[in-house]
Amino acid sequence: MKFHPPLFSVTACLLSCSLLVAVIAQTPPKKPEPQQGMGVSTGAAINYSSRRTIGINDPKAPLIFEDVTDKTPLAAFKHRSGGPQKEYIFETPSSGVAIFDYDGDGLPDIYLLNGSTMAAMGGKEKAPRAALYRNLGNWKFEDVTEKAGVANERWGFGVAVGDYDNDGHADMYVGNFGVSRLYHNNGNGTFTDVAEKLGVARKGWSTGPTWGDYDNDGRLDLFVPGYVDLQLNALPPSPGEASKPGGVGQNFCQFRGVPVMCGPRGLPGEGDTLYRQKADGKFEDVSVKAGVDDPQKYYGFTAAFVHVNEDKLLDLLVVNDSTPKQLYINKGDGTFEEIGYPSGIALNENGREQAGMGLAVGDYDNDGRVDFHITNFSDDSNVLYHNDGEGNFTDVTFQAGLGEPTIPFLGWGTSFIDFDNDSWLDLFVVNGHVYPVVDENQWGTSWAQQALLFRNLKNGKFERVAAAPGSALASAWPGRGLAVGDLDGDGRLDLVVNNIDSKPAVLRNTVAASGHWLAMRLVGDVSKKTPRDAIGSIAYLTTGKLRQRIDLVSGAVYCSQNDQTLHFGLGSATKVDKLEVVWANGAMEVFNVPAVDRIMTVEQGKGEKPDPKSQISNRRSPP
């Protein structure tokens, strides 16, 4: 037999190629890389020897927040939300809180929403009442609920403050499970529910609303997210009926193998509603026309009108539970374009949908663009989105140091707060679980949980502030709503937490090492088509090389309302080099700031407004 080199070569090549293909086909799959410490959806069950959400304190830590609840009448407020076993989903998320000056006396007041019970919904017992506490100064409060007429007596979830009729008195929208309310401030210490009359008596499950003038006509409009489409006469199975056929013992309503309340996944969601205010003061539902009706029916919790880009049009962010977040960019023609996915904000950096609850809005890195912090379920981290400009966001949670420390916690209300007035926004988060059964298991988490305060390290990173024993940070609450405001006018921001099935927590800021500060109230010119309460305006304050930005936002946090007085920490600076206000109508104005450590009122087109109600701080200068 003759040897035929070319033929041999072809044969050999084919054989070797076949072998190679076979070898490749049999190569075992690449070994997975170790799990990175990045945000994940709810993970697999892990047992811990101790809880990581309570009892963490440091004897060397300074006192920062003092719990003064029991020194106030707010200690008598008892929140109620269904039964203690939490058999149904509407018993678990619960209510927000607002800090706002309802009577215009210069002192921020407190409005606490309440939940309800099945028996109350059925008329078999008295409904729990919301409560309004008038701030009398020096940490004294008066319960004025009855006189003000704001007891709600419906299952309250969200509250947003906005002077919708531009009469100079702050009104509030209350999102209920049932029919929502619009409390018009009559200017005499009383409110009237005008929701039906004005066309905003939304039915269903309304959560965290937001006011904003999206169409730049000088009148506030209203957005209300919807959560779950739940009918009381057709409830899903409950854990108490776990063993029944079709009960949660036989379905997916389990947490780590233990039957729990069903939802939100698996339950029908509810769309969202945008109400546009017409010239006659009534509202029309423009949700579909504007493209924000949420046809996917995601489980909406918290929303905020806010300027995401620099085009002078108010955009809209909606934080949804267990579904993607929605970012609506205002196109300027009465419609919005939803860019959640391409913007990077719909999901976390690993492409996971998260159980979004609360929303903090603020420029934490002082780069002139607004960033977002969003709270999530336990076994998952909260998430920090850095605004890269032009509608792009990057999840920087773990780089910022906010990943690992937040994983055991189930977060709700969150707010950026410069607690030490060093000119850099810190971060506060209240926590609490939705499943009471977590206290019966060693899952590393708990029903009541400590709040978290993260100090801004001024380099894009945060660190958890240690809790002094006995301080508010060392306490554990089943937290939900949160509101920030300087309740005593001392230039240090205080907090109120609405706790489910409990009394609230009033936290007095007592930080010793605090910088100078400047607080301001903005008054818009309605004739120039800026809402009178200036919602949607932005203040930029420059001291030296630092330029801070604060947006005047309605809603956010988690179904709650921060005081709309803008608060700037100035650090060691004793003078402000520049104060710029970009009003809601897009006009920019520069104001002179003759002194700091005070509250000033700035009126569009007229400069600083003498305000006898503005209290000059009697606090000593910082060390």
Partner: protein, 170 residues
């Protein structure tokens, strides 16, 4: 000479067989979108005595050749159930024999789960494990999604976030 003919025939057969399987393995894969995707994704999936609705936003499908499909989707299991989701979070339906990371999988409908410890498990509709394989992680993927399919040089990748397995038609 006879030996040469035999060798030529053998080579011809080998070329035919190799090229035939090569062509089959190279059946063009098309990741479906829009109406084509909606047409093949079922609205819900039965698994272990329960039917759960499909998360249509998190469904994906690929067509190999002209009429062979692999369809996957996440389902709405209720609540925040952690361990349930790690075991079963979606379905995978194939109307042709395929391989998943090289392991053979027959025609059928299965439940699947991507676990946090880097495993992809396929279960039959009674919950019995059919296949388990390690996942790979794509740390450079831009804008990952909860579930998606992407064509790659080595097949079609079924992604869950940054984790993926590779599907090929047999």
């Amino acid at each position: 000479m006879n030996n040469l003919r035999i060798l030529a025939v053998l080579v011809g057969l080998l070329v035919f067989v190799t090229s035939a399987s090569f062509v089959r393995a190279q059946d063009p894969a098309t990741v479906l979108a829009g109406a084509e995707l909606s047409r093949v994704v079922p609205p819900g999936f039965y698994f272990q005595g329960q039917s759960a609705p499909t998360q249509m936003r998190n469904a994906a499908a690929v067509r190999f050749g002209t009429n062979r499909q692999v369809v996957a989707g996440l389902v709405d299991t209720s609540g925040y159930a952690a361990d349930v989701r790690a075991k079963y979070e979606g379905f995978l339906i194939t109307d042709s024999p395929i391989t998943v990371n090289g392991s053979e999988l027959g025609i059928g409908a299965y439940g699947f789960g991507f676990s946090d410890d880097g495993k992809f498990g396929l279960l039959d509709v009674s919950g019995k494990e059919v296949l388990s394989t390690a996942t790979s992680k794509d740390n450079v993927l831009k804008r990952p999604r909860p579930l998606m399919m992407v064509k790659a040089a080595d097949g079609v990748r079924l992604y869950s976030g940054r984790d993926y397995v590779t599907i090929k038609v047999r």
